[in-house]
């Protein structure tokens, strides 16, 4: 049987009732798809159930890549291909001049980690050149706070009540659509 899904926008004038609404929604097992706010709000991501970022793991891997690349590059350039004389110390082996190589290794690590993290972040958010702004309501860039919900019939009725009770200024049903059974994923909270 096909399921009806509804996209609901709950607009708030202040962050306090919005955070209250988030707590209540999550307590009754309803997933908040996204929150749009004009300024960063501490603790909101854990309230709407965003998992902890794994960007740090990426950073570590990119850093290791940087160390590897720098070592390979310096070994090839300074030792293997054309042995250089560093500060009166001829360079016949890599370990011989490690102090001189450390700054470059460090810089390369930082370079790869920083750029890798930035690119990963941008790609993960699909902030590629020419990407369209995804903010569904421009008022959230000014003075309004918005919760975006994408729910089935029973849940959307419950969510509307919760939103109104916790002080939403507007509760708008933006769109309804039908999802065939084979596309329905299990609801995750």
């Amino acid at each position: 049987m096909a399921t009806n899904k509804h996209i609901i926008h709950g607009i708030f004038g202040d962050e306090v009732p919005m955070m209250e609404a988030c707590k209540k929604l999550r307590a009754s097992g309803i997933r908040v798809k996204e929150a749009y706010t004009p300024m960063p709000i501490h603790g909101l991501d854990s309230l709407i159930g965003v998992p902890r970022t794994r960007l740090a793991i990426c950073a570590f891997i990119y850093g290791l890549t940087g160390i590897g690349l720098a070592t390979l590059m310096m070994w090839y350039m300074m030792v293997s291909d054309w042995p250089n004389d560093i500060g009166g110390k001829p360079n016949w082996a890599y370990y011989f001049n490690i102090p001189a190589f450390i700054p470059i290794t460090f810089e390369s690590t930082v370079f790869c980690a920083a750029h890798g993290m930035a690119l990963t972040y941008l790609l993960r958010c699909m902030l590629v050149p020419g990407a369209k702004a995804k903010n569904p309501d421009p008022r959230t860039t000014d003075d309004k706070f918005m919760l975006l919900l994408d729910l089935n019939d029973a849940q959307s009725e419950k969510a509307k009540t919760i939103l109104k009770d916790s002080g939403a200024e507007e509760v708008n049903l933006i769109n309804s659509y039908v999802v065939e059974p084979k596309y329905i994923l299990e609801e995750t909270h």
Binding site: H42, G43, A56, I86, G87, G88, K89, P99, A100, I102, P103
Partner: protein
């Protein structure tokens, strides 16, 4: 909120602990002076004992000075997160008069030839007819001598004035019986900013004057920052350990986990700053290969190799590996454990800075002398800081950022 313990009283256990440390330290200092001599070297006058006393006096003085710097920095940057632990930072700065008194005493004793930590204080060193004549030091005597003493006294007066002003303003602000009055805060922002200006110059020059001049022939402009980073990380670990201990004792429940997480981040970051400067100094000298520069590291490499590597590993590799993850910075026991090791590591760093210039090749490795002396100063430091902490409420009342700090969450 009524059950919150806002007034700290020094627990008798902590008081006994500090007295015990001081007693053990005092006994070992006396034993150290009685036993410290080198057979067949009549020029060796208790040098190691004096150097140990100097290291202890300097380390804890520098630590409380760096705490004053950190406090000034919080004001100058108008930082809100640290407001809840401000009283702890202030308490740590209150050791500064003690530390400076020890330093002054040591300087005076050196001037009157009781010890020979500073080679340039030797009489006749700039006199071409004297047998003590040293041409290189004679060329630097414009910088040492009277000018050195003038600078030393100016540093001490300046630092003490700023430290006491910052703390007294903060205490005065507490007495105001109004909801919001920022007048003292604005004063402290100005004082903190000016302290940054003074400290930027004097932390460098003071470390040249007081520490680098032990190796009088050698000089490095980077040295001041190296000492500064070392004292900064020591101050941060001391503050963190103290805050966690107070939390464990049931005080300071208002300090959020995030504030301590931030302190962990500072410890992590400044460990890297220290390593950066430690390594830079080595690398530049290694690279340059100039004999009069290399002599500094040759002395350390030949007789202090184990200490040098120990200091490098426990002050760099250990905090890097252990404090990198978010969870480790939020585990109080873990943070305290790593902090203690870093704290000892930086004391060893001071030992490694001082000893080669004074004890030189007579060094026989770490012994009870170093630890005994450390215990004495540690005991005194704990005693002074806890007493300073007990004098005022643990929570600042009239501070514009206190609410921000109470709800700090990252």
């Amino acid at each position: 909120m009524n059950t919150e313990k806002l007034n700290f009283t020094v627990p008798s256990k902590a008081r006994m602990f500090s007295f015990g440390l001081m007693a053990v330290g005092l006994i070992s200092i006396i034993l150290m002076f009685l036993t410290d001599h080198v057979d067949g070297d009549p020029d060796y006058h208790n040098t190691r004992a004096w150097s140990n006393v100097f290291s202890g006096a300097f380390f804890f003085m520098a630590l409380s000075l760096a705490a004053a710097f950190f406090l000034g920095l919080q004001y100058a940057a108008e930082a809100g997160w640290s407001t809840t632990i401000k009283r702890v930072i202030e308490a740590v700065t209150m050791y500064l008069p003690w530390g400076l008194s020890f330093m002054m005493l040591l300087f005076l004793l050196g001037q009157f030839q009781v010890h020979h930590i500073y080679h340039w204080m030797t009489p006749g060193i700039a006199d071409a007819t004297s047998e003590n004549y040293d041409k290189i030091i004679a060329g630097k005597m414009g910088y040492f001598g009277v000018f050195w003493w003038v600078r030393t006294i100016l540093y001490m007066i300046g630092w003490l004035w700023f430290t006491f002003k910052l703390r007294n303003n903060s205490i005065e602000a507490d007495k105001l019986d109004v909801d919001i009055n920022n007048s003292y805060h604005w004063k402290n922002i100005k004082i903190g900013a000016w302290f940054m200006v003074l400290f930027a110059v004097t932390s460098s020059t003071a470390s040249w004057d007081w520490v680098m001049s032990i190796d009088t022939h050698w000089f490095s402009t980077l040295f001041g920052w190296y000492i500064f980073s070392g004292m900064w990380i020591s101050a941060l670990t001391a503050i963190t350990i103290l805050v966690i201990w107070l939390k464990k004792e049931g005080y300071m429940e208002f300090v959020t986990e995030s504030t301590i997480h931030d302190m962990g981040k500072w410890m992590f970051a400044i460990s890297f700053l220290w390593t950066y400067l430690y390594f830079s100094q080595f690398m530049l000298i290694w690279y340059a290969d100039i004999p009069e520069e290399v002599v500094y590291f040759t002395a350390r490499w030949e007789n202090y190799k184990a200490l040098m590597w120990t200091v490098f590993f426990i002050n760099f590799a250990l905090p890097m590996v252990m404090l990198m993850s978010r969870d480790s910075k939020r585990n109080f026991f873990f943070l305290m454990f790593v902090g203690t090791i870093i704290f000892i590591g930086h004391y060893l760093d001071v030992i490694m800075i001082v000893m080669p210039g004074t004890v030189g090749h007579h060094w026989t490795g770490l012994s009870w002398m170093e630890f005994g002396c450390f215990f004495f100063f540690l005991g005194l430091f704990i005693y002074v800081v806890l007493n300073a902490l007990a004098k005022v409420p643990l929570r600042v009342k009239n501070h514009p950022f206190i609410q921000e700090s109470l709800h700090h969450s990252i």
